[in-house]
């Protein structure tokens, strides 16, 4: 083969290799492109992953939001599926307050909020979320000290909205179940101590924050632990009637959030 022809052949072969490589690269890129993800259900349980107040000692751990995770939502979602017509996703979801996706989930759950800390930016995000129509259920915090911590951040969210006791006649207590009994739902400590309260939180309170139209935006379960009741639904020692009641409160809050 003459040198000139050989050079031409080499050039063509190189070009073919480059083109083939590019084509293969493109295919690989296409293969790895994320296809649109189908949402697994109308309702997705979202747990709020907040920061812990640096003055609070949460058993040496900083992840207070993880309490009861993931068994609480796992059991609760089964209950929703069994007892209502809500199309609920089987798995829960975790988001931080500043995650832009939070607006895709109009119901969020925050646990151990007696330890939480929301900075100004997070508080503003949560305020916007709630006023647009989002719903927040907080749970599992006890006593006056934790209340003060919770309230401190909550007041950054709504400086001008009072936290009030939810009236007996509020639809949140009747939308599916008529929840006329105010029984303190204990954490698992009850199994060991027989004590339904923690710290100085002897009296349970069902409190809330309302919007200008009188709609409940934040359901505050103080001095009780619905999360434990959900989590330990399969624990023979945990009182079954408390789990049932916790399911009912949770479902009522959820249906209220989906109707008001």
């Amino acid at each position: 083969m003459p040198p000139q022809s050989r050079a031409t052949t080499v050039l063509i072969a190189t070009a073919c290799l480059v083109l083939a490589g590019a084509a293969l690269g493109q295919s690989a890129e296409e293969r790895h492109a994320n296809p649109p993800r189908e949402s697994p259900g109308e309702f997705q349980f979202v747990r709020l992953a907040y920061s812990v107040n640096r003055f609070m000692n949460y058993g040496g751990r900083s992840q207070a939001w993880q309490t009861d995770y993931p068994d609480a939502e796992h059991h609760f979602l089964k209950g929703i599926d069994r007892l209502t017509t809500i199309d609920a996703a089987e798995q829960g979801h975790v988001l931080v307050p500043l995650d832009a996706d939070i607006f895709d989930y109009p119901w969020i759950y925050a646990v151990e909020v007696g330890h939480w800390y929301l900075n100004t930016q997070e508080a503003a995000r949560l305020r916007e979320y709630l006023l647009r129509g989002g719903f927040l259920m907080v749970d599992d915090f006890h006593g006056s000290f934790e209340w003060a911590t919770f309230k401190s951040s909550m007041e950054r969210v709504f400086p001008d909205r009072p936290i009030v006791e939810i009236p007996e006649g509020d639809e949140a207590f009747h939308v599916l179940y008529d929840l006329d009994q105010r029984i303190q739902i204990p954490g698992r400590l009850f199994i060991m101590t027989g004590q339904t309260w923690e710290q100085d939180g002897r009296v349970p309170h069902w409190r809330g924050i309302y919007d200008d139209e009188g709609r409940l935006m934040v359901a505050i379960n103080w001095n009780m632990d619905l999360g434990d009741a959900w989590e330990h639904a399969d624990w023979p020692d945990y009182p079954e009637n408390m789990t049932a009641l916790a399911y009912r409160f949770g479902i009522n809050y959820l249906i209220y959030a989906m109707t008001h």
Partner: protein, 740 residues
């Protein structure tokens, strides 16, 4: 040329029959023809040795042809024509004397009309001429000398019927009508044209005036609802007639208050431009809206730049029923979007668990306590019905029939929403109301509901709908739609039915799919919104962004406003006459029988009269009458239904009439109307100044007293030329074949 060869013009042949005038017995003619044909054949047979058979055949054909032509000439052919007996007939010359005939470029239209009418009969002097002038009524004239364009309205149909009917004592051969074609009583209806044509007199029309007026723009039409609710935005459709490119500005006043202003581009490629003007009406009561348009330039007629409309803003409560099969975000956010203190009560029934329904928006504690309505009275009390993510099987057969009747008979609006249990998944495509739906929904077995986020697009059809206007007045509505967040889910609809309109669509991975579709059915309308995920607009947009709320408020308002009330009165039509239509239905929307209906018609100045409304032959429970409105101003109408002399129902409406200004609108020549009139009656349309052939049309008019005339054609040069051609051809051929 034709006339040189055939002796008479082609048109004479067209309007005449060709007949033979010789009175010879037919049998003799046949006998002679047979003998001649056979004789020629025999003669040629004897010369068969001198020519080929083909040559003999050609010669035979040519000789027979010559014989046939000669025979035809001997039969004395002639044209038989029906022609007017000129002395015994009359022609009516009709001049339009309405105010629009005062326009003209140097010469007034009415003067052009008179000149053309006189010219039309100048060559038919033997005909008796009857002269008329008309506007909204007819006058018989001796001459047109003192005619002035002072008629405040034009009614061509009524005038023609009056003229032809009134001239029955004469033998009327034709009517020649000169007009600009502007009819303020409304366009000629097919019924009116049929009535005029049935009189059997051709109407020839002469169009006067220009069909363009480049220096003039005109506010041709303003369409605005005659009733609305307090605090709502009304969209007026203002149509501007223009003959050249430019810009204009529309202003809307309510008394002295400027309510809206809208700049409008007038493109070069059209003569009619329609603009949408949003008007906020807050106060209850009658609003006399004045619309005006101007370009800033000089115009020959300014009075056609403004129009008035009357809008009655009144409190009214609508009711919509929403039946949902599962708690979901769309339900929540739709309810939140509706103003709880507004004029639409959204009553909802939600299946929260397999055995429990949750009710909201109730008027009484008992409402819907037994579930979805089972009687006409209960369901038909709502104006709109929304069905969410719930299976068709959740309804009994009787309830599905009720839903069907709700749309087709009651005229209610039905909206179906997407969902895991809605539309195709819910079996609605195979349900008892499948024929109502604007789409052929997929079968239940195929899961057509998908929880993918997809963007939404406003379609050209949707762009015209007030209910889909999300932008603020003056802002771009398409832009307001294009930057909306994606919806949370969608459902496939299958193929759409022919009458369906797609108002919104969505861009899925498989291409564009309809999102909001609608079609009318019976007295009502059916909509499908193929998503349950518009709630993302609320959650994903800033709190102050009201597009989600606006979408649902306007959509549901459109649903309820489409539904006719059981008792209603409308006054529709043109400037000088209104058609009253009163409808009376009971609570179950069944037509009320055995009632007599009359209407009191009152002008704002106090003039009033009563008209009877006879029952419609086409619709039960409907009563109609045409009411002439003589004066400009607000007219009030009150229809009263009585049984045995006792009043049962009363209903009211109102309208603003511009009857005294009607002549200033549509001032361009309407040749199309004049052409239709001529074509329907067997006449012909002429442009002014070009009346060629009108004297012939009159002479041979089929109306009036006619006589038959016979004109010989045997001596037409074409016949003799043909004879010569045949004989010369035979001679040439025989010479070539050397048989001579």
């Amino acid at each position: 040329m034709f006339e040189f060869f055939f002796k008479y013009p082609r048109a004479d042949y067209a309007r005449s029959d060709l007949v033979f005038t010789a009175e010879w017995p037919v049998a003799w003619l046949v006998f002679i023809a047979v003998v001649a044909v056979l004789g020629i054949a025999l003669m040629l047979w004897r010369h068969r040795a001198r020519a080929a058979p083909g040559q003999l055949a050609v010669v035979w054909v040519l000789q027979v042809t010559m014989l046939v032509i000669a025979g035809a000439v001997l039969m004395q052919p002639a044209l038989r024509t029906e022609q007017l007996k000129m002395d015994d007939n009359a022609v009516a010359l009709v001049a339009d004397r309405s105010q629009s005939m005062a326009y003209g470029d140097g010469v007034r239209r009415i003067d052009t009309a008179i000149d053309n009418l006189e010219a039309a009969v100048s060559e038919s002097a033997e005909l008796t001429t009857l002269r008329y002038a008309f506007a909204d009524a007819v006058d018989r004239l001796d001459d047109f000398a003192a005619l002035e364009p002072d008629g405040a309205a034009t009614n061509i149909a009524a005038s023609l019927v009056g003229i032809i009917d009134g001239a029955r004592s004469q033998s009327l051969a034709a009517v020649i009508l000169a007009s600009d074609g502007i009819d303020t009583s409304g366009a000629l209806s097919t019924q009116q044209l049929t009535e005029i044509a049935a009189l059997g007199v051709p109407v020839h029309t002469i169009g006067v005036g220009g069909d363009q007026m480049p220096d003039d723009i005109e506010l041709s039409q303003v369409i605005v609802p005659d009733k609305t609710l307090p605090g709502t935005t009304v969209t007026a459709r203002a149509s501007i007639r223009h003959d050249r490119e430019g810009t204009a500005r529309i202003r809307v006043y309510d008394g002295d208050e400027l309510l809206a202003t809208e700049a409008v581009a007038l493109p070069a490629n059209t003569t009619m431009t329609t603009a949408l003007v949003d008007i906020d009406l807050r106060e209850v009561g009658y609003h006399h809206l004045q619309f005006s348009v101007d370009t800033g330039g000089d115009e020959p007629e300014l009075r056609n730049n403004s129009r008035s409309a009357l809008v009655n803003v009144q409190e009214q409560q609508f009711r919509a029923l929403y039946f949902e099969g599962e708690p979901r975000w769309e339900y929540k956010f739709m309810r939140r979007a509706m103003d709880p203190n507004g004029d639409i009560r959204l009553v909802s029934l939600l299946r929260v668990s397999p055995n429990k329904y949750y009710r909201q928006g109730l008027e009484t504690p008992e409402q819907l306590q037994d579930g979805f309505p089972t009687t006409r009275d209960e369901l038909f009390g709502y104006d709109a019905l929304i069905i969410g993510s719930i299976e068709a099987a959740s309804f009994s057969e009787q309830q599905l029939e009720l839903v069907h009747s709700f749309v087709s008979e009651r005229g209610g609006s039905l909206l179906l929403l997407a969902g895991p249990n809605g539309l195709g998944n819910g079996g609605w495509g195979q349900s008892g109301i499948a024929d109502l739906l604007p789409a052929m929904l997929p079968p239940r077995a195929s899961d057509s509901f998908h929880r993918y986020k997809v963007p939404v697009r406003l379609t050209p059809q949707g762009a015209d709908m007030q209910m889909l206007r999300l932008a603020q007045p003056g802002e771009d509505n398409r832009a307001a739609w294009s930057d909306l967040p994606a919806i949370a889910n969608y459902q496939e609809l299958g193929s759409l039915k022919p009458a369906a309109s797609t108002l919104l669509d969505m861009q899925t991975t498989t291409g564009n799919q309809p999102l909001l579709v609608t079609q009318p059915f019976g007295r009502g309308h059916v909509y499908i919104l193929a998503t349950g995920g518009t709630w993302r607009w609320q959650m994903s947009l800033p709190l102050e962004d009201q597009r989600h709320e606006k979408f649902w408020q306007q959509l549901i308002r459109a649903l309820v406003a489409n539904a006719p009330p059981g008792i209603s009165l409308t006054a529709s039509g043109g400037s000088t006459e209104r058609r009253l239509r009163a409808e009376f239905r009971d609570d179950a929307y069944r037509p009320v029988e055995g009632i007599a209906v009359s209407a009191v018609v009152s002008h704002e100045d106090g003039e009033s009269f009563t008209v009877e409304l006879p029952p419609s032959l086409d619709e039960s429970g409907v009563f109609t009458a045409n009411v002439p409105l003589g004066a400009t101003g607000t007219w009030y109408f009150e229809a009263i239904a009585e049984r045995d002399g006792e009043p049962l129902y009363t209903t009211r409406t109102s309208a603003y009439s511009e009857s005294e200004e009607a002549e200033y609108f549509n001032i361009r020549r309407n040749s199309a109307l004049l052409r239709r009139l001529s074509e329907a009656t067997g006449g012909q349309y002429f442009d002014a100044g070009n009346l060629d052939g009108i004297d012939e049309l009159l002479r041979y008019s089929t109306a009036g007293i006619t006589e038959q005339i016979f004109r010989p054609v045997w001596d037409a040069p074409a016949i003799f030329l043909l004879l010569l051609l045949v004989k010369f051809g035979e001679w040439l051929l025989r010479r070539r074949w050397r048989t001579i």
